[in-house]
């Protein structure tokens, strides 16, 4: 039972970080990052190839680059940095003055391209089979199978969550956050008021990308594997759904969305009996997510916890 609980908590933490990150980019700043899942993948792959031994070990059944067997926390720090670095070229793509729906589609297609390339170029990251036997952090010193380790992992995840939330809160509740929201509302007016749009967008891409990558590192350290199937483009849609449901622009909304959508769905369906052929339940999950998105966009587009109205003391 408690293994279930610790697993649930770690997944919840990962999803919270991912949702808060995308909320900073999309909810607060209006950046259409439909390629979001690439950042989580970069973090997972980076943490994996930095903590795994060289690919010739383990009988050489996997092919991948690097394999530096670095100790914790270096893989996680490097993963976060990798997410931030990747954000720069990708952010520059989004900076072209495209209609927002075109931007969204271009980003989505980029994530599909990335996935296809990784799948097809086997020596890079072991292609379709992906990476397995990824060592858990600190597993050289601790028994990673024990219940105590599970709780340690939960604690680590909570720590990372807390860090990301502090950063997100400080950004959102500051004049900088106000500027980001203005940019989201009406870019041209923000520029005409002296705001450097390029710098703002790139910065939020880097911040969000780093957090997403961290979530990937946490996830891969816990489950020990990562393959192209873990980061197909619909995964980005799940996170968007979480933000639409929970509340765009609001950090608490992002947390709520994370708990309701990625976590809530997984858990709710876990307890359903196996009806119909295997694969029916996951398919129905996706249908439900589609319906959820449409339902919320129609009835409550601001989400359950919309952005709060900010009043200042001493009003007239």
């Amino acid at each position: 039972m408690t293994y279930y609980l610790t697993t649930l908590l770690v997944y919840a933490g990962v999803d919270v970080i991912a949702c808060v990150a995308l909320n900073l980019q999309f909810g607060v700043s209006g950046l259409v990052n439909f390629g979001f899942i690439i950042f989580q993948a970069v973090g997972a792959y980076t943490a994996a190839v930095l903590s795994m031994p060289p690919d010739t070990a383990n009988g050489g059944f996997q092919q991948y680059i690097l394999g530096l067997k670095l100790p914790f926390p270096i893989p996680w720090l490097a993963a976060t940095a990798a997410g931030g670095l990747l954000a720069i070229p990708i952010g520059l793509v989004v900076l072209r003055r495209l209609r927002s729906d075109y931007q969204a589609i271009a980003m989505l297609v980029i994530s599909v391209i990335a996935n296809t390339l990784v799948t097809n170029i086997r020596p890079f990251l072991n292609g379709a089979a992906g990476l397995s036997l990824v060592p858990a952090p600190l597993s050289e010193h601790l028994d990673s199978g024990s219940l105590a380790y599970q709780w340690l992992y939960v604690a680590l995840t909570v720590l990372c969550c807390w860090l990301v939330l502090v950063v997100a809160n400080r950004i959102v509740n500051s004049p900088y956050g106000r500027t980001l929201r203005a940019m989201r509302e009406r870019e041209r007016a923000a520029a005409a008021l002296g705001k450097n749009l390029v710098a703002l967008k790139l910065t939020m891409f880097v911040v969000g990308g780093s957090a997403a990558a961290l979530s990937g590192a946490i996830l891969v350290g816990f489950i020990g594997l990562w393959a192209p199937a873990s980061w197909l483009y619909p995964e980005t849609i799940v996170i968007f759904a979480a933000i639409i449901v929970g509340g765009r622009g609001n950090n608490l909304g992002a947390i709520l969305g994370a708990l309701l959508v990625p976590v809530g769905f997984e858990e709710a369906t876990r307890f359903l009996p196996q009806i119909g052929p295997p694969g029916l339940i996951p398919a129905m999950q996706w249908v439900a997510i589609g319906l959820l998105i449409i339902g919320f966009l129609w009835f409550r587009p601001r989400g359950i916890l919309p952005e709060p109205r900010r009043r200042v003391e001493g009003e007239a």
């Binding site: 005409a192 008021l193 002296g194």
Partner: protein
């Protein structure tokens, strides 16, 4: 503040530091703007004198709004050069021009709808300690003082324009006239030297038009320079001196309104009475 001649009063405000020369604040030379084969602005050379409200009029499609956008930097010039306050700004992006005091407003309301009226003003303030990633991460202790100061400044502005009561309203819920006022106030938070107004009175009730005109005159008296695109000729006549007339992307006349009214080609171009 030296521009005594135009207004008869030499008032100086803290927001407009004295200038040593009496030269024009903005100079445009041979400015062109083409897009997809259309020459929206076709070789415009003008000078905007300090401390005056200059009008920019012309029939629909004359290129007035485009010219404004090019002067502000929202659109790049296809050819020509622009100087602001003695410095060439032709290649400078719009946000840098705004920081130097060349600020524009937009023809269609461009308020930040999901921010409150007060937030709309606060966001315009330049050089806020909390308006950077690092500043935000350092927290309220770091930028709280700047914020308090700015809130006061913004509230003063709101009081002046009679909108203090709407401080916590979402800007998107304001009436048309209030949005225009907000647009002007927002621009003023930047302490502009030259304000480019794109049809500030369009579609407004005559009472509101008079109200805004009075504000603009006061601002001019305090030393602000304004370039205003406007259709309502009565307003132009009351407020603007000089007036620039454009048609088909070119300037076809400049000068005080009464003189312009007499010129045949301008009447032909579009003046009706």
């Amino acid at each position: 503040m030296s521009h005594v001649g135009a207004t008869g009063r030499g008032e100086r405000s803290a927001s407009n530091p004295p200038r040593s020369e009496l030269g024009p604040l903005l100079v445009a030379q041979g400015v062109e703007r083409h897009f997809e084969g259309v020459r929206a602005v076709d070789g415009v050379s003008i000078e905007i004198a300090q401390g005056r409200i200059t009008g920019l009029i012309g029939p629909n499609g004359a290129g007035k709004s485009t010219l404004l956008a090019v002067l502000a930097g929202t659109l790049p010039a296809s050819a020509g050069r622009i100087w602001f306050d003695g410095e060439e700004v032709t290649r400078l992006p719009v946000h840098r021009r705004a920081r130097r005091g060349l600020v524009r407003t937009f023809q269609l309301s461009s308020e930040f709808a999901e921010l409150t009226v007060l937030e709309n003003l606060l966001v315009a303030a330049p050089n806020h300690r909390g308006d950077s990633l690092l500043g935000a991460l350092l927290g309220r202790r770091y930028w709280g003082e700047d914020e308090r100061r700015l809130v006061e400044q913004a509230r003063e502005l709101l009081d002046r324009f009679g909108m203090r009561g709407q401080e916590s309203e979402y800007a998107g819920n304001l009436s048309g006239g209030q949005k225009r006022l907000l647009e002007v106030m927002r621009a003023l938070m930047l302490r502009p030297r030259l304000l480019l107004l794109d049809e500030p009175m369009a579609g407004l009730h005559p009472t509101v038009v008079r109200q805004i005109s009075a504000y603009l005159e006061r601002l001019r008296d305090e030393g602000l320079t304004i370039l205003m695109v406007e259709h309502e000729l009565g307003t132009v006549e009351r407020l603007c001196d000089p007036v620039i007339v454009m048609a088909q992307g070119r300037v076809i006349g400049q000068g005080p309104m009464p003189l312009l009214r007499r010129r045949r080609e301008i009447i032909d171009a579009y003046l009706v009475g």
